[in-house]
Amino acid sequence: MAISRIFDLSRRSMAWYQRAMDATAHNVANSSNPDYSRQRVIFSTERSEISGGFIWGAGVKIDHILRIRDELTDSGIRTNNQKFYSSNQHSTINGQAEVLFTEPSDLGISTLMDSFFSSWNELSVTPNSSGLRSDVIRAAEKLASKVRTVYEGLDTIKGDILNDAKAKVNDLNNKLKQVQQLNAQINEASAMGYSPNDLMDKRDKVIDDLSKLANINISFDSNNSAIISVGGAFAADRSNVVEFKLVEVNGKLNIVTSQDNIPANISGGELYALTDSYSNYIPKYQNDLDLIIKTLVDSVNSVHTSGYSINNPPQTNINFFEGYENGVLKINSEILLDSNKIAISSDGTQGNGDIAIQIAELNSQKLLNGLSLSDNYSALVSEIGNNKLSADQQAESSQLILQQLEQQKMSYSGVSIDEEMTNMLIFQRSYDASAKLIQIADEMLETLLSLVR
């Protein structure tokens, strides 16, 4: 057996330990990269030799570089991403809506509606006072302007949602394309016998991002390619990718495939919150508000038409409100010009305010859904508050789970500097030892050579 074998074996192990140091350096370099999975060098023994009736170990080699990743944690994170991001988005949208109503405060519709009815009550005491008559008009105008602000604010939210949803669908399409490309690259590398760890990290990150957008389903084929479906509709694999688009049908926002219009049943992620709010929540808020204001208009008008104005000669059958549509509450333009046309006298005399009392009493009458108008309104406001609160609570609970899963992932896949430093010391020692062996072998050779002299 030649001494040169020691040289050979030690040289190779020095090379391997240098590579192992490379892997450690890669880990340390990515220690702050949250999407990185630590890589571990798996050593194994080199193929041994048989000589002289013995099996001689031939040293060490790197078998492969292992990416440390737990599929179960990944899938848990993705499921909870869908829940968290949809709840969070719901909460944001409902938060924007509730702010519009500025309740509970003196500036909300509730107070303005109260002061509208109060102004009638006050007018009934001095029905011929032009000051109090203008107060009624002013109170109605304030109410109208707030109703309009709220209604248009809801419209703006709807518009914002639509823009946001468009951007998110673009994002979805881009990410699906990336998955398909990464699938192809990973497949290529695997076929050549490499383990494309960093590409897989990248793909995992893109899939994580997809799960924030919509409810996706992920499976892996035998070539380790990810097959993705979005809301039950096939979206991407190694060779194909499908584009999605937004369509609006009867005020409902849906996501379908661009080519074949196959609907995706979106039930998670931000896109769910966006389409759901656009199709259901915001229209319901607008509808409820419409119903309350329409009832107000109709009931005030129906009482007001029975009264007499105090201009000469007294007129009757005058509407107080011209009408209400799409958030715009209009006061009769004749009344705006001449407050004497407010018709609150039941018999045509100036001092009679019976009709004003009847209008003021509307405030406590159960005009809609068996409740008074202000109760209907506070039900609407607390519904929005409730929707926001329950979305917050759902988001909070899935966030807690997400945090735990992230912790698990970081515990399992994250880089520990201490560990890497320890590995570094080990590899360095092994490297040093191998070098020492070469030195010793050299001395042995020298000894041998000196014998010859």
Partner: protein, 418 residues
């Protein structure tokens, strides 16, 4: 468990964030003084707060209405007291006139009475906040004024019997004015019983002699004709001494219905006001007909009419004044009219006082209710500042510990010792 560096820093960030979120919530509560700043802070609390706001705004308006009505009633009482003191003066003059020694000065007394008449007329026309105190609800003209020939005082407005009602609580609609008719006017009261067994087509007739503003005598005739069970048609006419009607066209008939069991009146022309104004084309005959006491019953019909006064105070004073100028002292009948009017005014002052008391009582009730609602609102809305500050301090303490610990452990690794 394997501890990686990202795990440590994330852990630290999470706990610091939740600590800061709690601090933020407490801090916004303390600085706004309100537990509920947006509906999602407490949806059910928001709905309660809105309800309390609604109640408070209503009690505000009721208090306002009451204050306004009290001022109106104060003026009403003042005006009535003025009227009463003038009437007392007049009665003194009349008593003095009984003394023969004064017969030389009848003209001077006539002037005094004229002064009182004008003062009473002035009070009768007084206003509060653009509303005539005794003008009912018709403010189109001054309630009372002289006829063009200055010979009599007549009602200038179309109707001085309108009732001003004010809502002073959820369920109470309070009448706050004393109408001109109540105070100065003539009210004909229809009493008695209409036989419910009479046949359809049967007519019951009732008559009463009434005076116009100048003291001329007329006859008021009312006919109740049965048109159906419990239903009668009232037609009426006013004729002068020659039998000629004062109306250019006959007034419209009124349909009256009675409750079949109790016999009480239930409607006049479908409405529930059982008192209405009757006047002639010139306006000199002007009185209210009150049907509240009219009933239907089994007994034979016994319908009767009565009037609270023959001549009103203004025209009685005018007659006394004019007679004095002609050298005639007031008659006992005239003196009685003035005395009756004095009693009536005193009664009306009491009425105004009663309404005032009623308003004060209601105001106190509303204030009590208001205090209750305010307490509930405060419970729902207000922050217990002391408690919030304590919590804030303990959260601040926790946050500081988090900072300190992370500053101790996060930067360390094996690297420092190699």
């Amino acid at each position: 468990m394997r501890i990686s560096d990202l795990l440590m820093s994330n852990n630290y960030l999470n706990s610091m964030n939740s600590s800061k979120a709690r601090i933020e919530r407490l801090q916004s509560q303390v600085s706004s003084g309100s537990k509920i700043n947006k509906p999602s802070d407490s949806p059910s609390g928001t709905s309660k707060i809105l309800k309390y706001f609604n109640k408070l705004s209503q009690s505000d308006i009721y208090t306002n209405n009451i204050q306004n009505s009290l001022a109106f009633l104060k003026d009403t009482t003042l005006a009535l007291e003025n009227v009463q003191s003038e009437v007392v003066k007049t009665l003194t003059y009349i008593t003095e006139l009984n003394n023969a020694a004064n017969s030389q000065n009848l003209g001077a007394f006539a002037d005094q009475i004229d002064q009182s008449l004008k003062a009473i007329l002035d009070s009768a026309n007084s206003q509060y906040d653009g509303k005539y105190l005794f003008g009912g609800t018709d403010f189109s003209s001054v309630p009372y004024g002289f006829t063009t020939d200055q010979g009599a005082v007549e009602v200038k407005a179309n109707n001085v019997s309108g009732v001003q009602k004010v809502k002073i609580s959820q369920n109470v609609l309070q009448k706050i004015n004393l109408t001109g008719t109540e105070v100065f006017g003539t009210i004909l009261t229809q009493n008695g019983n209409i036989d419910s067994n009479s046949l359809v087509g049967d007519i019951i007739t009732n008559q009463l002699s009434i005076n116009d503003a100048e003291g001329n005598s007329y006859t008021y005739t009312a006919n109740y004709e049965k048109t159906a069970a419990n239903t009668y048609s009232l037609t009426y006419d006013i004729t002068d001494s020659g039998g000629a009607s004062v109306f250019s066209s006959a007034p419209a008939a009124k349909s009256i219905t009675f409750n079949p069991t109790s016999g009480a009146i239930v409607s006049v022309d479908g409405g529930n006001s059982f008192s209405f104004n009757i006047k002639d084309d010139s306006g000199k005959i002007n009185f209210n007909l009150d049907l509240n006491s009219l009933k239907e019953g089994n007994n034979p019909s016994s319908v009767s009419l009565s009037a609270n006064q023959k001549n009103d105070i203004f025209n009685t004073l005018i007659q006394i004044r004019d007679n004095l100028r002609l050298g005639i002292v007031p008659t006992e009948e005239q003196e009685n009219i003035v005395k009756d009017f004095n009693k009536r005014i005193l009664a009306k002052i009491t009425d105004a006082g009663n309404i005032t008391n009623q308003l004060y009582d209601t105001e106190e009730l509303i204030n009590n209710q208001r205090a209750g609602v305010e307490e509930l609102l405060s419970k729902e809305q207000d922050v217990d500042i002391a408690k919030a500050i304590m919590e804030l301090q303990s959260q601040d303490y926790l946050l500081q510990i988090t900072y300190k610990l992370s500053a101790m452990f996060l930067p360390k690794s094996l690297l420092d010792y190699l």
